[in-house]
């Protein structure tokens, strides 16, 4: 593997890993956001049953 081969390997792995991590992070972000919105707008269960 020539010098540029190693350089591309390094840069490739770094960029690839960061992009993949970012994608997973964005997915966690979206899922959490959706869940928060869902919970905020849902009815409070059992709130009408006041003793």
């Amino acid at each position: 593997m020539g010098a540029w081969g190693f350089v591309s390997l390094a840069y490739g792995i770094v960029c690839g890993t960061l992009v993949v991590y970012w994608m997973f992070l964005k997915r966690r972000y979206r899922q959490a956001e959706a869940e928060v919105d869902r919970l905020r707008s849902s009815e409070i269960i059992g709130s009408d049953d006041k003793i």
Partner: protein, 231 residues
Amino acid sequence: MTQSKKRKGILGGLALVAVAIGLYWSLAVAPPDAYQGEVQRIMYLHLPSILTAYLSYFLVFIGSGMYLWKREKRDDLLAHAAAELGVLFTALTIIEGSIWGKPTWGVWWTWDARLTLTAILLLIYAGYLMLRSLIDDENRAASAAAILGIIGFLDIPLIHMSVYWWRTLHQPPSILRPDKVPWENVHPAMLTALTISFVGFLLLYFYLLSLRYRVGEMRQEIKALRLERGA
């Protein structure tokens, strides 16, 4: 879109621009090194990576300390997010160092001081993340992790000293020592490449940190809402 989301977007955009310019400068503008050749370009990744990792661990330390002192959830969220990113950037540092080492020293791995130290850092903070995930009670997990975050950080200088002593006493000096860069002879374009790369990494780091922090914050809110709603 909310204000903070917009700000994150701008930060991300800036990071992308800086990284792109950094890539261009590192790969196209900066000349190859006199001794190491093109392979030296990996240093434009390696040095910013390890510095970012150190910054991360410092943030873990601060967050842990503040959490133990004031018990504010946001400090714990910061520590956790910083630890995760720290592990990511440390792993990248090791991979970059290894790839640089193959053409330079002929081996994928060697137990020289810097690689060894970086590997130890990875182990410590991976342990931090494991500790968090294995304790079920959230407040306990936060407290335990905070203690580990502080002790780990305090131990780092001691680990640093011991590994360096060990390696300098036993290892014969190598011809190519990356820490012995003759700064007077460094081409200005190389310095520029390094600086831009570093800025790009920093911006990217803070962008990812803000996202990860927010995820943690939202998870907190989800827990609270679930309790409230009885869902």
